[in-house]
Symmetry: C2
Subunit: 368 residues, 2 copies
């Protein structure tokens, strides 16, 4: 695997004149060749958070040429900061610096940073360039690719946002060395998701490699990132604005968003909520006669092996779930749309779950 | 002209799968056939302001079918309310009503309403449908067409926004009957602009018809609106996101934005500032040797005939103008880009005005 580790791989998200590369490999931060081609003009603002700044901000800015006008902005960390107020801080900083519409924003951090910076870029002077430099596994395999940007509203997750594609995604696998185990597991939830929705072979590979992944084996992580990004890039290229197949990427997310919203953003990590949510979707798929008990047991085993919760919060009742799920963006008018599994590796969009079946699943699902 | 008045004309903004019609004529409000085809789902929110609501809100909602879930939101009026806080009120109302991403927003009002509602639609759940129902001449001939949406920031006009196209533009010419003379003149500034930048014949027609237009002659206003929308639709179809020719629509706007920002939003109407700004651009074009003194006199005469200011605010010095103009969105890096006139009816983008020439023009321009 040595060659893989020293020659960054390049994938492409094929979106016509908005196509962009995903570079995956070690040592990308601090190496000027990766960022320079994707800057729109001479004005560059790097936005990161208080956790990532001391680790990687200097390394990234070292990779920016001397003739650029570089500003940095460090925001607080955590899902609770993913608000319009944080995005306003970015806009204020851009305007205070006199940045024009040919500037470039660089998002250095996890999914919260990428979503907020992408949204700030989408709406600053009606849209400026941005580059994703994700430093968490979750952001590397999911949120940094595909152009979904936005912030939370007290009434719902990601309710305010835009589709706005980055100019490039730079995934420096070295950054995973500092990732806390809980964040690693949260990222693995989205990796497992790709196997469950679309790639049974990848799922089987993950079952075998999960100990290596959790042990931060770089070769295994690199392969997991590449495969995840490839699957995501394919889906996004097919359906950029989620009119159809892209919705499959939301496996576990409607249940998961309900958990996050009910618990207060940041109590459960997004990936943790998705982990439990995918199991709820798997169990519901079994109740509908699509998955076998054995399939569900496999799903549960890999979620457990990834270090993710297998149960919902103790205090969440059926009504708590349903009330929040009904406002979810993925619902068409009043029908509850869920992503379910016809088989392991084969997801579908389903809006005909009988209400009593859904309520029974939520009622019976383990609590912790 | 009777037929024109009773058979609404239809123009199209040709943008591929985002193409949309502009309907122009009397009696469109309250007639269900114009709105119904452009609604995305059953949830509809009409957003208007305190001035327009008592005049036209009932008439518009009468034109919506009984089986729709219709909400209304009335915001304060005026450019000073074109803020992110107002857009947040729209988002809060949408979420409080449980509106999903298949809802439709209807903007009923002038340019401020249209810009804010369009931006709210662009970012609600990453983008929902909206329809423009402009009730001022300025909004009918300019801001409702072309998908520029956004709000002001204390540091600059329209600094936060998005390109987001409406599903349709419904221009009910009956609404002009209640338009105050000052607002009518402000709208005529943008009408004159089309003649100056692209259509010398239209300019000559406007010179002849200005008394009729200011006298609210419906046939003349309808023709002015149709021609203006046609010219705007052509330019937008050619260059949706202002990479090139669309910038010509900003004739007078860089000077005008400086006046608006310096005076405080809402003190000068946008069209008034554009009127004075177009004269500044014309006089600068003359200093650069492109326009004759006679051309400038014609430009001044038509701006005067439209009832617009011929002078800048007394208290604005050269430095006041330059400081604000340098932050304008239309500037590439540090070069000041201006829209100037090579001839009446032929605008160009110019970024090589010698700073001393610009300063001398601003210094010499009349103050009031």
């Amino acid at each position: 695997m040595t060659d893989v580790l020293h020659s960054p791989s390049i994938l492409e998200v094929a979106l016509g004149d908005r196509s962009y590369p995903i570079h995956i490999g070690p040592g990308l931060l601090g190496d000027p060749q990766w960022l320079a081609p994707h800057l729109a003009g001479r004005q560059v603002m790097v936005v990161t958070n208080e956790t990532v700044a001391p680790l990687y901000l200097d390394r990234l800015t070292r990779g920016l040429a001397d003739d650029l006008e570089v500003r940095t902005l460090v925001l607080p960390d955590g899902e609770a900061t993913k608000t319009l107020a944080s995005v306003e801080r970015i806009w204020d900083a851009l305007l205070a610096a006199g940045f024009n519409r040919h500037c470039t924003l660089i998002a250095l951090g996890g999914g919260v940073t990428g979503d907020m910076v992408g949204f700030a870029a989408a709406c600053y002077q009606r849209g400026v360039a941005f580059v994703q430099v994700p430093t968490t596994l979750l952001a590397q395999v999911d949120s940094s690719v595909g152009g979904k940007t936005g912030v939370n509203h007290p009434r719902g997750k990601n309710m305010i946002g835009a589709f706005w594609q980055p100019r490039a995604v730079l995934i420096d696998t070295d950054t995973l060395a500092t990732l806390p185990p809980r964040e690693l597991s949260a990222g693995l939830a989205e990796v497992v998701k790709y196997g469950l929705i679309r790639d049974a072979d990848f799922l089987a590979w993950l079952e075998a490699e999960m100990p290596a992944l959790r042990g931060l084996d770089v070769a295994a992580l690199t392969r997991a990132i590449e495969r995840s990004c490839l699957l995501k890039a394919e889906i996004v290229a097919e359906d950029e604005t989620e009119q159809g197949v892209r919705a499959l990427l939301n496996l576990g997310h409607t249940f998961g968003h309900a958990i996050e919203a009910h618990q207060g953003y940041g109590q459960w990590l997004h990936g943790e909520a998705v982990g439990a949510g995918m199991l709820m979707a798997a169990e519901l798929s079994c109740r509908l006669g699509w998955l076998t008990e054995g399939d569900v047991a496999r799903a549960r085993a890999i979620v457990e092996a990834a270090g993710l919760p297998l149960a919902a919060p103790a205090e969440m009742g059926v009504d708590d779930f349903l009330a929040i799920m009904r406002l979810d963006k993925k619902n068409l008018d009043s029908r509850l749309r869920l992503i379910l599994l016809r088989a392991l590796g084969d997801a579908c969009i389903h809006d005909e779950t009988p209400p009593e079946t859904l309520a029974a699943l939520i009622e019976a699902f383990p609590r912790r």
